[in-house]
Amino acid sequence: MARVVVDVMLKSEILDPQGEAVLGALPRLGVNDVKSVRIGKRVEIEFDPSVTNAEEQSQIIADQLLANPVIENFTVSVLSEDAV
């Protein structure tokens, strides 16, 4: 079956308040040498074994539902297409 992973990240120039908050908390853990933290999301999609255009469909899913293309980028990677 096809397993596809979609990674969604804010575009590099867009402020990531969540990442900034983590960055700000690191010194409290004694970690002082981190320059930047950016937080995104990883989405794992499992298609029916019969599906042949999993990557194509994932592009549509990512573009129209998972990511906001105005402020986010996404990458689609097909993990395996081995039929079970």
């Binding site: 804010l10 120039e13 990531d16």
Partner: protein
């Protein structure tokens, strides 16, 4: 990219003939020539970026300025006005100790591109204007306009905008105390997101934006500077570094962080209270460019800045990027040298970045160095105050005569009782009149514990002082359809409605803010609408005796050649001595008398009924009588003070029928109504004649209220009684509508349409 390519003042002098992309930056040829004349050389890239921003319509008000002067000329003089037009926000005195500052601003285009973040940063921006006056923000409101509720794009824009307004306001911890939501196809592709904030300050804490005191230090406070919103000046980058250009890295969208804003509020208030800042300015639409030039121009006239000291979030930013960046949650403070260490320490305590980036000079020039090389050397007033002023051509639209004779009063009307009953329900269910709680429930309306009235009341009301009970009420209103029919009357209708909405709560209106949303100023017809609307507001405020204290203008709200309806949105602020004497919306108690103050004429043109049932917009809007409005406001304040009213509700879109629906749906009792003898039921229920208020008089006060009305020459008509045994609306001799049926029509419409 490399340092050798830096376009310094020296390079500009040495290469006078270098081609510059001024047209792509939106500067006209004569404007570019004037910049060269002011500087005596070609501008550097950074200077060109700054002039293009500061001389844009958005910052310079170049098309509107000649008309906006009317506000200054006609504003009534009042000792209450402590700061007015030209400041970050107007400030009015409430009593001998307290003052209030409030302002409404548009964030229309960003909210169309990216609804959530666009609306959120609109709220963030207006909050910083309030901080810059020395005030603690205490509430927000929003006036929203979208395309048709049934249009697919509205399902994208509306939930995003509402989420953004709620996200920012809720996270920063400010109650949203009201506003309006309106649907019309003219806003398809041009939604209007107008955000208002209000703050309170001890009168002596009033701040200024002056950078004065030679040697005083310029401190940048708040978030790091990134590439947010520099889409406009990206042409400079692509002109120089075409190989590196990547449209993705030039976003026009800004993302805000309300938690940083909350820290900014607290840090700034602490600095004000400790007397540590000499001047303060927020960084808004034009970022550092605007803040540096405005503070320098307002103060001693000179400033020196080392731009490389600005903390950056992104790599590879050029000087013009840093100057143009619209990164959110930043403020600029002017601090005496002796206080700098303390200011930096206090900012650190609040977890905020604070960086000394320059100092006030007496050179009369704004000089900006980048790694020791001058990239900007300009007279600051040439950016801030001496931008171009246009006298745009004005022409009355050709269709005005045709529209005026196409009267809604001639449209077919429901005649039988059953048809009128159906119309009451259909109107209650129409997008503009239906219950908006799907939207307002997403907003925190009670954080701080000072909200006295929020939605669905006619105005929002907050308590300022727990000991005295003194409070303020604010209403935000507009009606683009009336203004399309007649912009002068339309803007006065918006003013009168906001004024009346404040008065209906028992507060006394004292000041005005306005957000003027129009199409392209290059269209003479739009410019005519604008001129008429501004004149209407200025004349109206003069008459009502309340000054316009500030606001903003949003032009270019159009798709192709199709402009939105001219949409002046008016915010009116009122004061009430004791919020416990407010008048709520509703029906009071069983046995109370329901009455109508004001006169009902046959005025249906521009009405919600004409649009909702016939898709008709034509004729002449309802007449405005500001003398009447003043008497009405004075009466309502008096009756509120004497506790002689149980409830009151302004009549506006949808007329008496809609006012009754809203009162009943917000009360536990029913209304038993008998229309006056000889009244045509349809006209009486759906006419939108102004200056009318539905009141509920407690038992025993009927005579007192009647004589108070008669003393002032205000017509009062008894309509019926509040009745616990009446289920919903009983219109004697005509029809009954049970509460369940009313609520089924009025509630849940927005969610159903959005598929939620």
């Amino acid at each position: 990219m490399t340092r050798q390519m830096l376009d310094t003042v020296g390079v500009a002098e040495a290469t006078p003939d270098e081609k510059q992309p001024y047209a792509e930056l939106g500067l006209a040829e004569d404007e570019y020539a004037r910049i060269r004349q002011i500087l005596g050389r070609r501008p550097t890239q950074s200077e060109l970026a700054m002039y293009s921003i500061m001389w844009s319509e958005h910052c310079s008000y170049k098309s509107s300025r000649v008309h906006l002067r009317q506000f200054g000329e006609k504003n009534p003089k009042t000792p209450r006005l402590l700061a007015g037009i030209g400041e970050n926000a107007g400030v009015v005195a409430i009593d001998e100790h307290l003052a209030v500052t409030f302002k409404v601003e548009s964030h229309n285009h960003p909210s169309f591109v990216e609804p959530k973040q666009g609306a959120a940063t609109g709220v963030g921006g207006i909050i910083r204007d309030i901080i810059a006056m020395g005030a603690r923000p205490i509430a927000v409101m929003d006036s929203l306009r979208f395309g048709e509720l049934s249009h697919p794009d509205t399902a994208r824009v509306l939930p995003g905008v509402v989420e953004g307004v709620g996200h920012y306001g809720n996270c920063v911890g400010l109650p949203n105390i009201g506003g309006e939501t309106f649907f019309d196809p003219c806003y398809q592709g041009n939604p209007l997101v107008n955000a208002l904030s209000v703050g309170v300050l001890p009168r002596e804490r009033l701040q200024s934006m002056q950078a004065s005191g030679v040697g005083n230090v310029v401190i940048l406070l708040g978030a790091k500077t990134g590439r947010d919103g520099i889409g406009g000046v990206s042409v400079l980058a692509s002109a120089t570094f075409s190989d590196e250009d990547d449209s993705d890295s030039r976003p026009s969208v800004q993302v805000g962080d309300p938690f940083t804003e909350k820290l900014l509020i607290e840090a700034c208030l602490e600095l004000f209270d400790s007397g540590l800042v000499e001047g303060i300015q927020d960084l808004g639409g034009a970022g550092l460019t605007c803040a540096l030039s405005e503070t320098a121009a307002a103060g001693d006239g000179g400033m020196h800045v080392d731009l490389e000291r600005v903390p950056l979030r992104a790599t590879g930013m050029e000087p013009h990027d840093i100057l143009a960046s619209e990164s959110q949650e930043r403020m600029l403070a002017i601090v005496a040298p002796a206080n700098v260490e303390q200011v930096l320490a206090r900012a650190r305590r609040w977890g905020l970045l604070a960086t000394a980036i320059g100092e006030v000079t007496d050179s009369g020039r704004l000089v900006i160095d980048y790694h020791g090389q001058a990239v900007v050397d300009v007279p600051p007033a040439s950016l801030a105050d001496e931008g171009p002023v246009y006298h745009r051509p004005i022409a009355e639209p050709n269709d005005l005569g045709l529209i005026a004779v196409d009267r809604a009063e001639t449209l077919p009307r429901p005649s039988t009782d059953e048809e009128i009953r159906r119309t009451v329900l259909d109107m209650a269910a129409s997008p503009n009149l239906c219950d908006k709680s799907w939207i307002t429930e997403q907003y925190d309306s009670s954080v701080f514990g000072n909200t006295v009235l929020g939605t669905p009341h006619d105005a929002g009301m907050v308590r300022l002082d727990e000991r005295t009970g003194v409070g303020i009420a604010i209403a935000l209103d507009g009606n683009g359809r009336y203004a399309r029919l007649d912009p002068y009357t339309g803007s006065q209708l918006a003013l009168a409605e906001a004024y009346r909405n404040v008065a209906v709560t028992g507060a006394t209106p004292i000041a005005v803010t306005d957000c003027l949303n129009f199409g392209s100023p290059e269209d003479p017809h739009v410019m005519w609408q604008f001129e008429r609307a501004v004149t209407g507001i200025a004349d109206g405020c003069q008459k009502l005796g309340i000054p316009v204290t500030g606001g903003n203008v949003s032009f270019y709200n159009q798709t192709g050649s199709e402009a939105i309806h001219p949409t002046p949105v008016i915010g009116v602020l009122g004061v009430i001595d004791d919020v416990s004497r407010r008048i709520p919306l509703g029906l009071g108690q069983s046995g109370d008398t329901i009455a109508l103050i004001g006169t009902t004429g046959e005025e249906l043109s521009g009405s919600e009924w004409a649009w909702a049932t016939h898709r008709h917009l034509g004729g002449v809007p309802p007449k405005v009588d500001l003398d009447h409005e003043m008497k009405l406001a004075e009466l309502l304040a008096r009756l509120a003070g004497n506790e002689q009213l149980a409830a009151a509700h302004d009549l506006s879109e949808g007329g008496l029928a809609q006012a009754l629906v809203e009162a009943i749906c917000n009360a536990g009792t029913g209304a038993n109504i008998l229309l006056p003898e000889g009244a045509d039921p349809f006209t009486y229920l759906f006419s939108e004649s102004t200056g009318r208020v539905l009141i509920v008089i407690p038992r025993g006060q009927e005579l007192a209220v009647r004589s108070a009305c008669e003393q002032r020459g205000l017509p009062i008509t008894p309509l019926g009684v509040v009745d616990a045994n009446t289920d919903g609306l009983h219109l004697r001799d005509h029809f009954d509508i049970p509460r369940a049926e009313l609520e089924a029509a009025w509630k849940g419409r927005i969610a159903a349409q959005l598929g939620e």
